[in-house]
Symmetry: C2
Subunit: 407 residues, 2 copies
């Protein structure tokens, strides 16, 4: 008998029929003697519908009031799931974020969890009930409703699991686990049985959008046993996200390959090679809320240097325009860009102890004639920017080169 | 400068455009220096949509969980109106029932208000904000979400007005006041400038569905000045609902004519004329949740009597079936019925001091050849059951006979 937190996303509770299916699954666990806490997202599409209503009223709605409106989505699903559980003969009780009391700061629309009171939940569990909690939401000190930002229900699940010391936090989604790479690009991609928190963070931030990144950080910090599973499959162990030390035998060098299509590169040529130039270039870009990813500054010569960085493709035109506006001020010779870039990253804690990973990556790409335009590295990942047309090829050959297609 | 509570119904906030219109109206009052508390219903259709979702999951959903689900409708509109007010340059702050704290008993789906904490509201008003409160909902002692039943937002408005000692409670709806009768039946029907609480109660319960009846009782009990207005008209004083004593000069004898089409009559013939027979007949009917309205027991002869009552037409078949089931047990000779009945009532506190009202009513109907099948009276109303085909004629001739078409 275990204490299990299960989180179901919007697709898993997208229709009354699917909510009944979730109830059946939860009832089965409950019948096996487990204590169950369920965290739910809003029905798929509902949060967008509510945001749409708000946008019809105001282009820039008050964050406090936006949270009042959008937090209703999860409130609906928790009530509906409790009804479905009761239909299945299981006692169940719903809690909004405020009712649990999930205390957050007052950063409306992107609040952070400060504390969770587990008392009501434990009392209901001890009385034999399933507890159903609204994800994505909480209350601040003054009782104002807050939300945690997109994907915040994952964070609610993990934080609840930490607060009530659950044996495991299971995140149910529409995929059956974390894969070595996207199976739509590489049919040989394999589901991983385990992945470390650090690898998962790199995979998630690089575009494998299985888990909300903040929830993974949270799980790592509080040592919550986290598992990703499919809500549409009866069987399967999903992918367990582990602390590295517990899992260091036969660790593969590379666990997965992440990629992102929608990149663009901007190069500022012939800027004076002096301190502060990076800030002069990137400051105005950041002020416009454009996220900058890879950044490279070449070695200077003749007192000038070239400066390159990548942005998300939808931000490309905006970023170029900003730079053209400050070009004469920073003394740059020319602004160049390329809007058809992609990024490919190999991720694995094994590369810490295995030298030669980078060179194997570069050789593999060179053998296919794929030109590497930018490189950036961290302790457990190597990313390259390449022409977008080579993306699928690059992912496929790297997947094979690092043996990811073999169990 | 006054403290005003305004309540807007579902039609008035049915679209983002209409919510903006409400914001404009509220902003105008606010600009005039009034302190404003706004109570809202859910967008029209939303509560039914939510109930529909629940019914897809369970034919008989848990009342506690149903309240969790359906209370979200008002939570959406309060957030949206605050956004619209802020767009109009007015500070505004929304409150759910639980945030106000509107304390109710724990009768889920039909809770009664026990107490309202006005402190947060007064603080915001003093700070110059408009306060926007979700109607229809509250919380019980344990923090469970409750709802007040259909039309409960009117009750929230009146109860709030009583709690914060508002100068007036204005109920905005899709009609511009209370009429002497339905203008679709009698084109000469006039809007009343005032009506007493007692008359309003009789009018409301008889089918003039302008105000939720509980809110009228509440307003009468706590002496809240209550006004019904149209949210679709810029001007107009609506109808003020008054305490009788304040308004006893030139009181008309009759204030209005209410009617209900969907009645049916059932007569149980030849039952033993002995104590307890009414209970034996009506007990099983009441047990089946069939509302019985007018009841008549004729004077008996030969040890037997006839017993008649009216029910809402949709309940007719059910009621007849029940009675046929107990017919032999109660010793009745025959069950007869008529499903095409209507009820017409004249209402007015003036009839207390004016004898002869009933006979004028009966003579008026007789002159048109309309047969009265049943009569029931209270201190301020006289109701008759007639064949449905005479309904419009009866309402028209009574409207004229009592001078209601003259200002």
């Amino acid at each position: 008998m275990a204490l299990i937190v299960q989180k179901y996303g919007g697709t898993s509770v997208g229709t009354p029929e699917r909510i009944k299916n979730v109830a059946q699954r939860v009832a089965k666990f409950h019948a096996q003697g487990h204590q169950m806490v369920i965290v739910l997202s809003a029905m798929s599409g509902e949060t967008n519908r509510l945001i749409g209503l708000a946008k019809e009223i105001s282009a820039n709605p008050s964050p406090r009031e936006l949270d009042v409106v959008i937090s209703t989505g999860e409130q609906v699903t928790i009530g509906l799931l409790c009804m479905a559980l009761q239909e299945a003969g299981v006692n169940a009780r719903s809690y909004t974020g405020g009712q649990v009391r999930i205390l957050t700061d007052d950063s409306f629309t992107k609040a952070r969890i400060l504390d969770i009171d587990g008392e009501n939940i434990r009392r209901d569990l001890d009385a034999g009930s399933v507890v159903v909690v609204a994800g994505f939401q909480g209350v601040d000190e003054e009782g104002n409703i807050t939300t945690l930002g997109r994907g915040g229900s994952d964070t609610t699940g993990v934080a609840l699991a930490a607060a009530i010391k659950a044996d495991e936090c299971q995140i149910y989604t529409d995929v059956d686990g974390v894969y070595t790479t996207d199976p739509r690009v590489v049919p040989e991609a394999r589901k991983l049985d385990t992945i470390t928190f650090e690898e998962m963070l790199e995979m998630a931030s690089l575009g494998s959008k299985v888990l909300q990144i903040r929830s993974v950080e949270f799980a790592g910090k509080y040592k919550v046993k986290l598992r990703v599973l499919s809500s549409f499959q009866e069987e399967g162990e999903g992918t367990l996200i582990t602390v590295e030390e517990e899992n260091n035998m036969e660790q593969p060098i590379i666990s997965g390959i992440a990629f992102n299509r929608d990149e663009a590169k901007i190069t500022v040529l012939g800027v004076p090679d002096k301190p502060g130039i990076a800030y002069q270039i990137l400051g105005p870009v950041a002020d416009a809320n454009v996220d900058v990813d890879m950044i490279i500054q070449n070695v200077g010569h003749d007192g000038t240097t070239d400066f390159s960085f990548t942005v998300n493709r939808p931000d490309y035109d905006k970023a170029v325009k900003i730079l053209e506006g400050v070009q004469s001020h920073i003394g740059a010779r020319e602004i160049r860009g390329d809007r058809t870039m992609a990024k490919v990253s190999i991720v694995g804690v094994g590369m810490r102890s295995h030298p030669g990973v980078a060179s194997r990556m570069f050789r593999t790409l060179a053998e296919e004639g794929i030109n590497i335009q930018m490189i950036s590295t961290s302790e457990i990942k190597i990313s390259v920017a390449i022409d977008e047309k080579y993306l699928e090829l690059a992912v496929r050959v790297l997947h094979r080169a690092f043996g990811l297609d073999q169990a």
